[in-house]
Amino acid sequence: MNILIQGGRVIDPTQQWNEVADLYISNGEIVALGQAPEGFEAEEVIETDGQVVCPGLIDLCTHLREPGLTRKGTIASETAAAAAGGITTLVTTPDTQPLVETAAVAELIQDRAADVGFARVLPMGALTQGLEGEQLAPLHGLASSGCVAFTNLRRGIASSQTLLRCLEYAATHDLLVVFQAQDNSLVAHGCMHDDTTSTRLGLNGIPEAAETIEVSRCLLLVEQTGVRAHFGQLSCERSVRMIEAARERGLQVSADVAVHHLLLTDESVNGFNAAYHLQPPLRSQLDRAGLRQGLVTGTIAAICSDHQPHDPIAKQAPFAATEPGMSGLETLLPLSLSLVEQQLLELPQLIEALTAAPARILGIDAGTLAIGSQADICIFDPNAEWVVSADSLRSAGKNTPFLGQTLKGRVSATLMDGRIVFRR
């Protein structure tokens, strides 16, 4: 199939492209920019009217809920939402039921995603058996079955000895370990950032130290083992500074942030709106500023959605009794674009953080429009306004605090492997 994407502003940081040009696709690959290759006849022409054409987005943290929790979302519903959000590659967490700790589950997820065909799904495997933090999971076998990284999520590994062994074993096989840093003894029954708002609302706080102590412990053990390591969804300014200092010492560690942590603070919890019940929690203005600064300096390389769809009942209870997390696939791009509007980043820099940077972190061949690469493409109108509503979201999870708000920037078409998987 030959596709011509006509008249778009093609932005690809890996090629330093930022120009209005036609993009030619043939048999799933990008074959030319600007000039049509000899003998190219388009079977499909996508008129863009100057909209942005960039690599398909790569989301480093999503919870797809299948297998096991399909009342909250299925691979079909959530990858359809991803396509509508311009995301062509999703990394999923291992907390399905059963967990991603056997080859069978890792393969099931990839097979089902391939059957549906809306987006690439790359599973993360459990770092320890049962995510219990005690015994190593079969990392090598899981990697052979397609797991791109290994994590214990926020369940934690209490014993530093066990954590050290996990990192040594992962380093043996050159596997990527993803830390969602949290010291659970400091979380206790916390459900929001520990500060003045939690004090006023009488909600149990999660202190900043719950994250920073774990970041510090992980960094020391990464340095000792030389494992490839990534920190997901940082929430504290001090974490950013510790990672920055480690990188300055030459440590190969990377980090991402969930887009909502760049925009919101714990003050949003006023009024007990459970849509703002998140983990890691929304933190202070100082933390938000530190995360934004980390993104500008490059200490934080990537922005993710931390997509966590829920059924309505999960959020219908007093705040602390609700389940944490927000649905984020379809708001990732528009919320990220607000950072450009706020003049924090230039548009190509933002696109880098959503495409090439996560590809580099994962070590996968994606996130580029280079000639010869797979045609994973996102086309969006940066100025189109739309209202977030239960009906406008394709995700089964309608649990977003942005319901009812007008966002700017909307995907008009998404291609994966040269196939149009979404078109508005």
Binding site: T196, T199, R200, P207, V269, F272, Q316, F319, A320
Partner: protein, 335 residues
């Protein structure tokens, strides 16, 4: 962009009348004063032969207690009966309502009984807000204590007790002593005292029982009773739960009593006419010495009497706001 909504919009009607009573925070001073004035008249009435008024005649008040409480429940029940309401008491076992859906189901069942007012006590902070957001607009919600968040009628009965003994709030220095961290009473007292213009508000506790940044609520923090009680006019003690000894918050009851228990020696730091209050039930020999609890400066029993009057005032005001709103609604429907 991305601003949070005004949390107090929920408690007031569009013209500023009380519709639900969820927290003392953010309510205007005039409204708190009106509640106290109304309660004052009910205190006087309770000393008469006939103690009933027909303000809530024909209305049904449902007391929904998801957390056990005999005292608060009985004062709410008595307050509703003195207002001539029909009263339904429901002690709902919390273990059967761990899940939010059952809380919502419980609400829907009770709505079907056409109650006009829910008085709610629940172990989760924000539960009263949740219920106010999810009930039909015809039901007024009174918070009888939610988690660590708020216990606004307790705070208002404390304010009434202070006002009846001390008059104006402006010259007063008030100290709140004990487990501030876990206390919804302390939070509601602090907000009410600030709004009513108390001169100085202090909290006294070890750091393990103080929430972070409590000073942001407008209080001075002390960890020492001798310093904290110096020249205060009002001492408000808090109840200490036994569980606090098990989570490395305190070493022992006896050490707490030695350092923070109110006895005659420590009371001597305060002004000679300082009064002592406690929301009850008291732990004698843990927070307070019997001689102080039963002594001439203790207002603990006045608080109980004033509690009924304050709850009558709050219920009648919230029902008034609710009726006014129903009027608005039916006018809108007609238009």
């Amino acid at each position: 962009m991305f601003e949070a909504t005004d949390p107090n919009a929920l408690q007031l009607t569009s013209d500023g009348q009380l519709r639900h009573f969820l927290t003392t925070e953010g309510l205007p001073r005039e409204l708190l004063t009106e509640i106290l004035d109304t309660a004052d008249s009910f205190v006087d009435m309770s000393q008469q032969q006939v103690k009933k008024v027909p303000l809530l005649r024909g209305k049904t008040v449902a007391n929904l207690f998801f957390e056990n409480s005999t005292r608060t429940l009985s004062t709410f029940e008595l307050a509703a009966k003195r207002l001539s309401a029909d009263v339904l008491n429901l002690n709902i076992n919390t273990s059967s309502t761990k899940k939010g859906e059952t809380l919502k189901d419980t609400l829907m069942t009770l709505e079907a009984m056409h109650a006009d007012m829910f008085v709610v006590r629940h172990a989760d902070s924000g539960a009263a807000h949740f219920i106010a957001q999810h009930v039909t607009p015809n039901v007024a919600v009174i918070n009888a204590g939610d988690g660590r968040h708020a216990h606004p009628t307790q705070a208002m009965l404390d304010m009434l007790t202070i006002r009846r003994h001390k008059g104006d709030f402006a010259p007063l220095t008030v100290a709140i002593v004990g487990d501030i961290l876990h206390s919804r009473v302390a939070r509601s007292q602090i907000h009410a005292l600030r709004t009513l213009g108390a001169g100085e508000i202090r909290v006294i506790a070890p750091k393990t029982l103080l929430p972070r940044h409590i000073e942001a609520l407008g209080v001075k923090v002390y960890t020492d009773m001798a310093m904290g009680l110096r020249d205060v006019d009002v001492i408000m003690m808090l109840r200490l739960q036994k569980e606090r000894m098990q989570s490395a918050l305190l070493p022992s009851e006896s050490e707490f009593y030695k350092l923070y228990g109110l006895n005659r020696d420590k009371l001597a730091y305060a002004k000679p006419d300082a009064v002592v209050m406690h929301p009850g039930p008291i732990n004698r020999g843990v927070e307070i010495e019997s001689e102080v609890a039963d002594g001439p400066r203790s207002l603990i029993l006045d608080q109980v009497t004033n509690g009924i009057a304050v709850r009558m005032a709050v219920m009648s005001k919230a029902m008034g706001g609710q009726m006014a709103q129903r009027g608005e609604l039916s006018q809108e429907e007609q238009a």
